[in-house]
Structure formats: structure tokens, C-alpha cells
Symmetry: C2
Subunit: 135 residues, 2 copies
């Protein structure tokens, strides 16, 4: 019997666990009324996504926008994997106590330049889907 592939929804708790396993995700937003996407490294703060960026870049323009953030891991051989999407509003952290707490040495931005902006994606909705081989 050929195995078929099933799509299963993932609980929010499991989504958060999967996101903790990956260092890189993709910010999805609108730029000049067109869909845009950029990979970034990130960390989780509770249910929120934290991304560091320099002041001059595209990321600063997201302040106040509703954006999405996606993390996935897909095995092209077995055709299995998962994808988690966080939807919410982007805001910039200015509170110094928060900035200190979020200054995780494991979360150095990979891109060059100064990174004096800290973006929080305040998670309003977290959804996940798993592709799995069914018996």
C-alpha cells in the first residue's frame, strides 16, 4: 500500500516547542502594497517573536503593522515536516529593562551593521500544520 500524506493541525504548545528548535524564520509583511518576505534569526519571549535589527533597514518600517512570521522544517526525501505561522502586530521595544532581559548573547543578529532596534511580534494567533505519512 502506498503511504498517503496527511495534514494535521498542531497545538499552540507544540508550535512553541518546534519554534524553539530553530534559529531562523521568515518575516512576512507588505511593502509598497506588495507581499514581501525576509529570513531573520529570532528568539522566543513567551509567545512573542523577538528580532533585532538596525535602525535604517526595512524592519523599522514594520512598526505598528500586522505581520506574519513563519518557521518550518521539511524533509524533501520523506515529504514530511511542519510549518508554524505567528500572526500579530509588530512593535519596537524601548523599555531598557526589557531590552536588557532580551539581550540574549545567543541572539546576535547575523547581518552586519549596528542593531539598535528590537522588534517584538506580539503573537495574536499561532497556527501550525504537520505533514505526516499515514499508515
Amino acid at each position: 500500500m502506498t503511504p498517503t500524506i496527511e495534514i494535521q493541525n498542531i497545538t499552540e504548545a507544540e508550535c512553541l516547542g518546534l519554534m524553539r528548535s530553530q534559529p531562523v524564520g521568515r518575516l512576512v509583511f507588505t511593502e509598497n502594497a506588495l507581499p514581501a518576505i525576509r529570513p531573520v534569526n529570532y528568539l522566543l519571549d513567551g509567545r512573542d517573536i523577538i528580532v533585532r535589527a538596525s535602525q535604517e533597514t526595512w524592519i523599522s518600517r514594520l512598526d505598528g503593522s500586522v505581520i506574519a512570521f513563519e518557521v518550518d522544517q521539511i524533509d524533501p526525501r520523506s515529504h514530511t515536516g511542519w510549518s508554524v505561522v505567528v500572526l500579530g502586530k509588530a512593535e519596537f521595544v524601548t523599555d531598557i529593562d526589557q531590552l536588557v532581559r532580551l539581550s540574549d548573547p545567543n541572539h546576535r543578529p547575523w547581518a552586519p551593521g549596528r542593531h539598535d532596534r528590537c522588534m517584538r511580534l506580539r503573537a495574536a494567533e499561532i497556527t501550525g500544520r504537520r505533514l505526516a505519512l499515514a499508515g
Copy 2:
């Protein structure tokens, strides 16, 4: 000397070569006025992205929309990798000769169900960025 990371633009020819090396990318679109993203398997037809889908799914609603498609590969250890984004209009292939030509046996959709819709993302713009360690 600590290596620094540089961002370099990639030529369109190189973008196409990199996309040919990967079976899975991400469709980026707008759903109920909110940013949305879904991983899909795909193939390249010239500069265009071809995705197969069932008639009933979200993908059918993209007909005529401007959407983005992203493929990336990032090594979390070395902090190097690349990301390619294709921007253009989604249209559905109905011409039978084209459908036959595009019925690549290596491009079976992974998700379950019937897949009688064939979407072409007509590439208007292809951009790529490479993160690379600089000397």
C-alpha cells in the same frame, strides 16, 4: 580576526540555479487582508514557478493576485546562506498542451487529495540575497 557577515545581491541567473536546487518554497500572499504564508513543493518553468493544488483549497483563491514566492537555504552553524524571492501575478493554467508539458512526474504534490489545478506564478521580478562570511 573575527569574520564579519556580508549581504550580497545575487544575479537572476544565479537565483534560478539556486531555486532549481530546492524542491520546497513558500507562497506569500494576502488572506482576509492579513499576510499569509504556506510551504509548497514546486517546479520551475523558465522563470515561472509552477505549483499544483486541489480545486477547493486556499490556492485557488490566488488567481489574479500579485503574490511572492520564497526559497532559502541557511546554515545555522556558519550563519551563511541565501534567499531568493519571486514576485508576480498568479494565474491558472488551463491549456491542455501546457498542462501535459508541466505534468512532471517529479512534481507530485505532497499534500493529499486531488490536484487538478496548476498555478503559474508569472515572474515579474526575481531578487536574491546571499549571506556570506567575509575575509
